[in-house]
Amino acid sequence: MKSPNNRRVVITGIGIVAPGAIGVKPFWDLLVAGRTATRTISTFDPAPFRSRIAAECDFDPSAEGLTPREIRRMDRAAQFAVVAAREGIEDSGIDRETLDGSRVGVVIGSAVGCTTSLENEYAVVSDSGSRWLVDHTYGVPHLFDYFVPSSIAAEVAHDRIAAEGPVSLVSTGCTSGLDAVGRAADLIAEGAADVMVAGATEAPISPITVACFDAIKATSPDNDRPAEASRPFDRTRRGFVLGEGAAVFVLEEHDAARRRGAEVYAEISGFATRCNAFHMTGLRTDGREMAEAIRVALADARTEPSAIDYVNAHGSGTRQNDRHETAAFKRSLGEHARRTPVSSIKSMIGHSLGAVGSLEIAACALAIRHDVVPPTANLREPDPECDLDYVPLEARPWPVANVLTVGSGFGGFQSAMVLSEPDARGRSAA
């Protein structure tokens, strides 16, 4: 990352809670197998809704080590974040006893925070929507923590890592997961912290979230074939499939990580975000602002487009997104857009709004480690308007040193990040 101190930032630990996969290894296995985790919604009766499918996590908080008190206090999104952070910290091998807490921070991304608990509690205090003047005496004691989602970052900070440096929640819709990690990397690069626990979480599969996407027909109505419903870049795609999950990383300053002998997954070598200033939910077809974010992220990483070995697409599977994004890749990468593999893991794990950007960063870091590009599942009928190499159906063994991952979100946010194999920044593996 560009910084006055030239401090470089690396990922040394990863933790995952994903649909069909709790933990890093099951997550990578699912992606490489091209398995889809989308299904009929099971947590409430979806019958009244247009889209009745989602990518759900089979998450048992108690089996994941949370205490009864933690389970009662934390929204599902906070539970995901804490469990993922614990795995990430463990995975990093960092010795928490030797850390100076004042040099440790936390950034968590989330688009809709504790929305599931807020809705559940709303139903209680309003007596199922029957009164505007809700009865506060029925509210749970920690209702405020659901009201203001910075509580999620606070939970992670107070858990294993004991952070006393900068802590925050980033909420930029569906780019939150990229922007949170980008901000955390900035904090290390500029010297405000040495270690950051950073990532994103989302648990949005609740009636109000399903209803709000129904209202604008953003989600897929392919209720009779949930496993094939998320079809990015396919001619027959009909919208995104809502998902949930979390990915949380340990980020460290490069030299310090090397000194302690940490195993480095990847360097966060470039990041940028831009607004489209166009529409809260709509996209211009030309991909202009996303292309600009990509251009700046590549410049930040001092990496030429031709050195990008893999592009992890936003690939939500809406009509407009996949066209917009394809245009953005061509605009920013030029001819190289046609030569480099591009794929969307949302075809398998759905679209977990603010969390998915971090889940995708994890997929990129693992692609670098394993030299395999995860596929775009369900892509059987290519859309003539989306004419790049989207790695249909099957994972591809492929040398991966530099990866570009992008996100696009409601509010007009367009973000791009470049991840590089340790000490291979700017040099293609090919």
């Binding site: 560009k2 006055p4 009244p48 809704f49 004042s102 688009a111 925070g113 809705e119 709303y122 139903a123 309003s126 199922s128 929507g129 029957s130 003047l133 809700v134 506060h136 749970v140 004691p141 209702l143 405020f144 009201f147 203001v148 989602p149 910075s150 509580s151 606070a154 900070a157 107070h158 440096g165 900068p166 925050s168 980033v170 909420s171 930029t172 819709g173 922007d179 901000r183 900035d186 009636p207 109000i208 209803a211 709000c212 209202a215 604008i216 940028a272 831009r274 607004c275 489209n276 200033a277 166009f278 529409h279 809260m280 939910t281 602002e289 600009e292 979100g409 409601f410 509010g411 946010f413």
Partner: protein, 413 residues
């Protein structure tokens, strides 16, 4: 109005415009006049029928007519909070005489902070869903309540295509947004619109705030919110805040900007250990780090705008931090938010606006209603406007859960 840019370095972060929408006034001048007068804006809640709740006071923005400022197309898709934020953004740009269209294509970013999003809007749609059914949920619900809404809407309104960000750190957010804006300037943006306008009072949000047990239940507006007082009994919530145009001095000079309210000289954020850990709170460390960042010593700070939580425990922590930094009675301390209540993320942004105006005018605005400050706090609490030379100010903010932020401002010349 100072046009003196002497002493400013090209890479300094300067504030060249502000837009204020506050309980104390619509617009900078009304806010400042009322603040100097010590005019309380705390009164009975009018945005909903609060009679059944134990807390019934708020700092509401009086006379805000959204239709006078926003098109009929925008009204159905925006929460009250977003409407106030959009108006503040208009005023900030006008005040800075900044035309985003004159900047490079991606030259201006937006950073806002919020606490709970467009909660009144969200409450109404939850009622529609649960009371009537999914088909009654607004097509705007997917974005009108969420935490990034102000950033997105401001970007669209003014065609701002630089980096966008939205932060949530409860009441500390107003300062953290400015910290993030400065980061963007340092990464090469010429100009950023940043700050926080927050507060969306509705019964459902009220229930959430009541759950903290920290809301004041005192019915008398004069006695309801008394930070640092022997009778401190909680806070009164409010709405509003401020947005700023921040730019590098280099960019301000290049476009011939005439005004500098001041310079954002230092910023830092820390987080507290869990309660019961036996470890100290980290507000003082945030303030020290912000001073270090500004390359100023405590003796060079002329006034402190306190977080002023309004509960005896939190007030004691802040008083101890100030004593640790400045010594007993070592610096004038004020809490103009005693006139407005606590505005969620907007409160610390409004404090920055008030602090910049104080630096410009050389007057410390008062803390009102606090008649029995606790002597053990050893604070030099400013309870009547005080005219003294002011070159620097420290603004403190804390967000529930352990967030501490501190920001150092220096005056226009």
């Amino acid at each position: 109005m100072s046009t003196d840019t002497e002493g400013l370095a090209l890479d300094d972060t300067v504030v060249t415009g502000m837009g204020v929408v506050a309980p104390t006034g619509l617009g900078r001048d009304e806010h400042w006049t009322n603040t100097l007068r010590g005019a309380s804006a705390i009164g009975p809640v009018t945005r909903f029928e609060a009679g059944r709740y134990p807390s019934r006071l708020a700092g509401e923005v009086p006379g805000f007519d959204p239709a006078a400022h926003l098109t009929s197309r925008l009204l159905p898709q925006t929460d009250h909070m977003t409407r106030m934020a959009l108006v503040a953004s208009d005023w900030a740009l006008t005040d800075a005489e900044a035309d985003p269209a004159q900047l490079p294509e991606y030259g201006m970013g937006v950073v806002t902070a919020v606490s709970a999003g467009g909660f009144e809007f969200g409450h109404r749609e939850l009622q529609n869903l649960w009371g009537k059914g999914p088909e009654h949920v607004s097509a705007y619900q997917s974005f009108a309540w969420f935490y990034a809404v102000n950033t997105g809407q401001i970007s669209i309104r003014h065609g701002l295509r630089g980096p966008g960000a939205a932060l949530v750190t409860e009441q500390a957010g107003g300062l953290d947004a400015l910290g993030q804006a400065r980061r963007q300037l340092r990464r090469g943006q010429p100009m950023v619109l940043a700050g926080a306008v927050d507060g969306s009072p509705c019964p459902w949000g009220w229930a959430a705030q009541l759950s903290t047990g920290r809301m004041s239940e005192e019915p008398d507006p004069v006695r309801a919110y008394l930070p640092f007082d022997a009778e401190a009994g909680g806070y009164v919530p409010g709405e509003g805040g401020a947005l700023f145009v921040l730019e590098t001095e280099e960019a301000a000079r290049a476009r011939g900007a005439r005004r500098r309210y001041g310079r954002m000289a230092g910023y830092a954020a820390t987080f507290d250990p869990p309660q019961g850990s036996g470890r100290p709170a980290n507000l003082e460390r945030a303030a020290r780090a912000a001073l270090d960042d500004a390359r100023l010593g405590p003796e060079e700070i002329d006034v402190v705008f306190a977080d002023a939580a309004g509960t005896s425990e939190e007030d004691a922590i802040e008083a101890e931090a100030l004593r640790g930094l400045f010594g007993p009675h070592g610096v004038p301390v004020t809490a103009p938010k005693t006139m407005t209540g606590r505005l969620s993320a907007g409160g610390s942004a409004l404090d920055v606006a008030t602090a910049l105006l104080a630096l410009r005018e050389g007057i410390v605005p008062p803390t009102i209603n606090v008649s029995r400050p606790r002597p053990e706090h050893t604070l030099d609490l400013v309870t009547a406007p005080r005219r003294i030379p002011l070159a620097t100010a420290l603004v403190l903010a804390r967000g529930q859960g352990g967030f501490n932020s501190a920001l150092v401002l220096t005056g226009p010349c």
